[in-house]
């Protein structure tokens, strides 16, 4: 299935193309020459620590922030040249969904529908049904909880059946049932309706469950784009093992012969080595053969987070 999808995305035209986009706020470069494509039928996860530039990129795609340079092409239309055609195939939520609080959810949707072509009253009922707000549709939005606001925001984003759906931190404020619903809706949109979905988050587990591809960003630079499986693979295969020994220096000498650049850390009585699972056996055998004692071998936590931290340069920098 994964392979099928990959081949499909290669063949089809990208729904969203971001080319060489740069944005500077004052002296700070928020987004630095970022380029990537988003294909119909995939859920793309945008991963990065706070302040990495995720939201700025999303705001540029949504038209809130003007890029200093670079091109954004939505559904084949350059946003600069064909603004309305480009924007009519995009939908989404940036940060928190904000509606006209004094008006009812239905009226909010009706007002939004008026700005799009071909959104019928039935479609409004349909999306309200989809996000489970049919009963409360005539209440003023100010009476809604944050989770309900997220839902109505999603309804608005889906209202005009966009080709590109962009959600910034969509699970904020949602209860587990809501998160589950959201995940289902996104997967259905992408895999059944062929919508290109882009989700930003700093919650890796969410990403793992939702996304097909992940783009990792830090300090405004797009560091890597890989499929979720590649990332997991990377994380699974090469783990860090901590070998406890009375003489780490000796152990280092022994292992240097074969795994010179794999040793990541040498402490008082431990030695960390990054190594594939199948090689650990041989590694231990070497040590024992050379006369080093082994007090313990421990596999350090290795998951997506490790890979993520590794890719983003060894740590989240809070700015």
């Amino acid at each position: 299935m994964d392979n099928e999808e990959k081949t499909m995305t290669k063949e089809t035209k990208p729904a969203l193309q971001i080319q060489n986009v740069t944005k500077t706020f004052g002296k700070k470069v928020a987004v630095d020459h970022v380029s990537f494509d988003l294909f119909p039928g995939e859920v793309f996860g945008f991963l990065g620590p706070n302040g990495a530039g995720k939201t700025t990129i999303i705001k540029m795609v949504m038209g809130f922030v003007r890029p200093d340079e670079g091109t954004i092409i939505i559904n084949g239309y350059d946003r600069k040249l064909h603004y309305e055609a480009a924007m009519s195939s995009i939908g989404g939520i940036v940060e928190n969904p904000e509606m006209y609080n004094a008006l009812s959810a239905r009226l909010n949707l009706q007002m939004y529908a008026r700005l799009h072509k071909g959104v019928t009253a039935e479609r409004i009922d349909e999306v309200l049904e989809l996000v489970g707000l049919t009963d409360r549709a005539n209440d003023a939005v100010k009476k809604y909880s944050l989770g309900m606001k997220q839902r109505i925001g999603l309804a608005q984003a889906l209202l005009h059946k966009p080709k590109v759906l962009i959600l910034d931190e969509p699970t904020n404020g949602l209860d587990p049932a809501g998160i589950h619903l959201l995940r289902d809706i996104l997967k259905k949109c992408a895999h059944e309706d062929g919508v290109a979905v882009m989700v930003s988050s700093h919650l890796l587990n969410e990403m793992q469950l939702m996304c097909d591809r992940i783009g990792i960003i830090n300090h405004g630079k797009l560091l890597q784009i890989c499929s979720i499986d590649d990332l997991m693979h990377h994380a699974r295969n090469s783990s860090i093992y901590r070998i406890k020994t009375s003489n780490p220096a000796l152990a280092k000498d022994i292992l240097s012969v074969k795994y010179s650049n794999r040793i990541t850390n040498v402490n008082e009585d431990t030695l960390d080595i990054e190594i594939e699972e199948e090689h650990i056996n041989e590694c231990v055998r070497c040590l024992v053969a050379a006369g080093s004692d082994i007090l313990g071998v421990q596999k350090l936590e290795s998951s997506l987070e490790e890979a993520f931290l590794e890719i983003t340069g060894g740590g989240i920098q809070i700015e």
Binding site: K59, M62, G63, F64, V65, R66, Y83, E84, A85, A86, M87, S88, I90, G91, G92, V94, E95, N96, P97, E98, M99, Y100, N101, A102, L103, L107, N108, M111, Y112, R114, L115, H116, Q156
Partner: protein, 522 residues
Amino acid sequence: MSKILALYENEMIKLSRKISAWILVFLMTMTSVLLPLIVKRLYRNGYEVSTSVSFSKSEVQTYRDSLSESLGDTNQYVEHETIRFNVNSEVVELFATKINLEDSDVRDYSLLSCYNAILANYDFENYPISDSFLSFHALVSYIDINHSLCNLNTDPFSERDNAWYELYRETTDSLDLAKQALFNHDCHAMAILVEDQGSSLNGISPDIWQRIATIDPYGKLSLDDGMQIVDALEQCKKYKNNLAMEVDEINGSYVPLTIERKTQIENSLLILDYQITNNKLPTNRAQVSTLARQFSQKAARFLLIILLIIIAGSSISQEMATGSIKSLIIAPVKRWKIFVAKLMAIFTWMLAGSVLITTLSTLSTSVCLGASNLLPYYYVSGGHVRQMPHIVFAFLYFLVDNISLFVYILTAFMISCLTKNTGISVGVSTGLVLSNGITSTIMDMMNHQTWIDFLPFSNLDLSGKIFPYLRLIGYMNSGEAGPFGVPEYNTLPLSFSLVYLAVLVVILLLTAYDGFNRRDIQ
């Protein structure tokens, strides 16, 4: 275009849900409906005084009886005679208040003889003294002349020379004329009398009397109307004088007359002449009506300005603050369309508010004070005086009024776009509106320096420049109050003000659009 209309429709929905807006609309409605009523109550004495004083038949009889009693013998009070008597002072005072004469005049014993004569012969019932311009003035001169005659009669015979006899003859002739004017209601006689006396009588000069005699030969004019015509004629004389000397009078000092001013003054004279000849001068009641309408419209308009400043000052910044602007930006509409739709919605409210105010204040004034008292606007076109029906004038006037409103709204909108702060934009714009009043006061104090005319404030109110003859129908412009005035003094022509305002509006619009369009939404 359809996108703009859709956005506009959305904006109107949003505005219609603002409770603060509806509260102000309610206040505006109450102000424009109730103020004419209040003005009517306050000024009722102002326009009803002339009809409230009259003598009934029985009252006249009472005066006659009490006077006869105090004189003892009724046959004694004959004209041309000097009779000294003691009269009941209460009756004198009563009489004095009834015909609106100064106390000191009445107390004079010799005047009393005249009153007696009048009481004996004058038809008070059909020609109430205080209700007729001619009768009142004829009576006063009759009293005056009779007084002089009495004084002549007291001169001892030994001192009566030829000059005395000449004077006596002249005085009796004058008295005959005064009698003719008073009892036969002959205004020409009055004119001749004043002409003969050679000086002004009661402050009204001979030429004005002659003019009145041609307008109203049979003394039909009421006292108020007559006084109004006198005022108007005095004003005409003054302006004719100024025209002849080629000077202009501003705040009491004389300056050279400009060509534009000259035309305005000449036209004002034409209109005044038309009004005087056709008895179209604003009556007291009409002036109160004008005051009521102007007052209610101005007060309601102030509320409208506040309402529109709140709407305009919050329309962008509030959406920015609550974040609801996002759903507009995400929508497939260009930003300039959002900008235009918002302005359209605001101006729809402006027009609707102005129409509401104008209609309500006009309606309320015509109900309270009578529709006929809402005067048409007179203007001169092709050398002829023309009139514009009041309702047409009222709506044109409100359009002109809206020019300044437009500038205030754009200012609030611009500040809202730039600062994205509702408080600052509403506060600063309201401050500007309020300081406009203060500025005009300061301008008056500065004795009209030329540079003041170049400030935006001085060019905001165009009503005086577009309707220069407003004061001829009782409108009060800033500065001098009262009717019959020629236009306010403006050194700058209308075309300058229009260009100035156009430039100002373009700058405001461009700055606002730049602030809205170029900036990022965070």
